[in-house]
Symmetry: C2
Subunit: 371 residues, 2 copies
């Protein structure tokens, strides 16, 4: 998508030096737009763990490129294959909840073997890294097409009134490689001339909504209003939300969704007020091995400082302020599970389906393991 009118992906290979991977360092947005060079797999691990990059699709793409950087580094190692294998193991531990990270590493490792030359490993991992990124962008683009149809149908019932869409966290192009998952239908609808307005949950503690989604929408010219995470229920009670649209970091084949902490609360409010609640997700976020989100999906716990302090602009300088007493305890679960029973539908690159095993396998029959 565009930044000040220039097209960017969220991750790409340096134009003149293909041994450098470039990302938008998302930590200081919307106040500063910084591009960062990653040249080692450790750079990638830090960038994922410390959230220079985040979001299911982008974590997967970054892991793909991380394995390519590991292969480049392997040139100088005594056992290049072993080095790349070990890099993969390290990479997988950077963040636990989104399945895209582990899946990208596995895909890279499955393409390699001890019989390959380092040069071949470099070439294979680069190809796969680029394929992961391209597939992610393409899947999000398709999600936009299917989601546009959904929004179009709501618009028809709404007699041309503005469609109010509530979203949580950033499931935008910054969370993927391009387009985004939950935002793809929003951009598509806006571009198609449908009048939409987005309620942007600020998404504490890291404020991905207020910082990233709002910035994305502003760059694209989509009308939006930032709201505290507490506000969605009130808005839905008063018919001020026509559609809730969120992303997913991991999805069971039964339709349970792990997404940013607080998503479950919005799903409950949507159910209680009869507002349609859709999850947009490229199928790369499906975990085909899990059937119970609450019991089986690991929920990342991050540091208390992300709750106790926050960064913003003071006198035009990035400043971190302490919000609590220094001695207060704080806890920081990063995701929660929205059970499938609260979800109206899943918007995937192959179309929209109900959040249940039968409907999901009907769209993705090749994933169905025979009993």
């Amino acid at each position: 998508m565009n930044v000040n009118g220039i097209h960017f992906r969220s991750i790409w290979l340096h134009k003149s030096n293909p041994e450098i991977v470039q990302i938008i360092d998302q930590r200081n947005l919307p106040h500063e737009f910084n591009i960062e060079d990653l040249t080692t797999v450790d750079d990638v691990i830090s960038a994922i763990r410390d959230m220079h990059v985040r979001g299911a699709g982008l974590i997967g793409a970054a892991a793909g490129f991380g394995m390519y950087l590991a292969a480049l580094e392997a040139v100088s190692k005594s056992d290049p294959y072993k080095y790349v294998m070990q890099a993969g193991l390290k990479l997988k531990t950077a963040r636990p909840t989104a399945i895209n990270l582990a899946a990208a590493v596995e895909r890279q490792l499955n393409s390699l073997s001890n019989n390959l030359t380092v040069k071949q490993m470099i070439s294979y991992t680069l190809n796969i890294a680029q394929a992961i990124a391209d597939e992610d962008a393409q899947a999000c683009y398709q999600i936009g097409i299917h989601g546009l149809e959904l929004i179009n149908n709501i618009a028809k019932q709404n007699n041309g009134e503005v469609i109010n869409i509530l979203t949580h966290c950033n499931a935008g192009w910054l969370a993927f490689v391009d387009h985004g998952s939950a935002t793809a239908p929003i951009y598509a609808a806006h571009d198609a001339g449908i009048r939409i307005h987005v309620w942007v949950d600020e998404t504490r503690p890291r404020n991905q909504g207020a910082r990233l989604t709002a910035w994305e929408l502003e760059q694209h010219g989509v009308p939006f209003t930032i709201i505290p995470d507490n506000a969605g229920g009130h808005l839905m009670q008063h018919n001020l939300v026509d559609l809730v649209l969120v992303g997913s970091d991991r999805t069971t084949y039964t339709g349970d969704v792990a997404n940013k902490i607080g998503t479950y609360l919005k799903a409950l409010a949507a159910k209680d007020t009869h507002v349609p609640f859709y999850v947009a997700l490229p199928s790369s976020t499906f975990d085909w091995n899990l059937h119970d989100g609450i019991l089986q999906i690991p929920i990342e716990e991050r540091g208390a400082d992300e709750v106790k302090t926050i960064q913003g602009l003071a006198h035009n300088k990035l400043t971190t302020v302490l919000l609590t007493t220094p001695t207060s305890n704080a806890s920081n679960f990063a995701f929660d599970i929205t059970p499938s029973r609260l979800i109206t539908g899943l918007i995937t690159e192959r179309g929209i389906c109900e959040p249940n095993q039968d409907a999901i396998f009907k769209l993705f029959p090749e994933k169905h393991k025979l009993d």
Copy 2:
């Protein structure tokens, strides 16, 4: 309750000059503990509107004392009674949702008439202001006793395990005159030696939980953990909450509760996960004229700056930072409605009752208007 070991109420008459009302200016807590002098009704209006004081009970008490300050000011006016009446009208508009504000002003105005001398008006308004404050403190104390019984029962079922209580916003002694509503049972249980731990919702946008409730609990030695407002659903899904305990800013006689924005979302999660959800409220928050919270209780909308900026400590200095782009829109509804169907019980100064008309009027029969 105690601050550094010294007993404070949240509002009181200056010890040596009874023409001064003193409050704790809550805006800079927990970083700074400031006592502020109020000497005119306009001081009180600003203190309420700009939230130097907040919380249903304290707003009522402040309004009571505001009318006393208006009577003091009336000495120099040509028509003292008219001055006090007009001050009452102004005071009532300071904040719309909590009924205690209007109720306190009405109670003062009902005690006055054109036949009184200014001296009588001063004496009457002072007596009533002190009565409102004392009744509030006493009601909260009684809520503590009834709530302690409830917690005791949970403790018995829990085999001595720590009781985890989740609370939203600050329904602590800072929100009332003393003890607090939702915190009164917590303090009572802690003092009775029951092992409790409190999950404190930070309560965006003004962070009354992270700033005020956490500070109160820390001062009293009650173990607590601050959580983002998004986290409660996850904690309840994983059996980490035994009881949700919140306050009320206005309660219909049918049991609908207006409380800080986001309360409704926690009530939905509690219902979905079978966690008891109790609202602690002195009966002064009942609006005996309203039967439908969503349709009838006015919800205050505050400025966008409370969402877009936040104050904290940077290098030991109070600093306000901008969290969004300067051009982002933000909206700021201050309360939401929790329908009675989501509430397990109401803890009042007369005991605990179900949130329905019959049970409420059984506890408060004198309020029952005959059809």
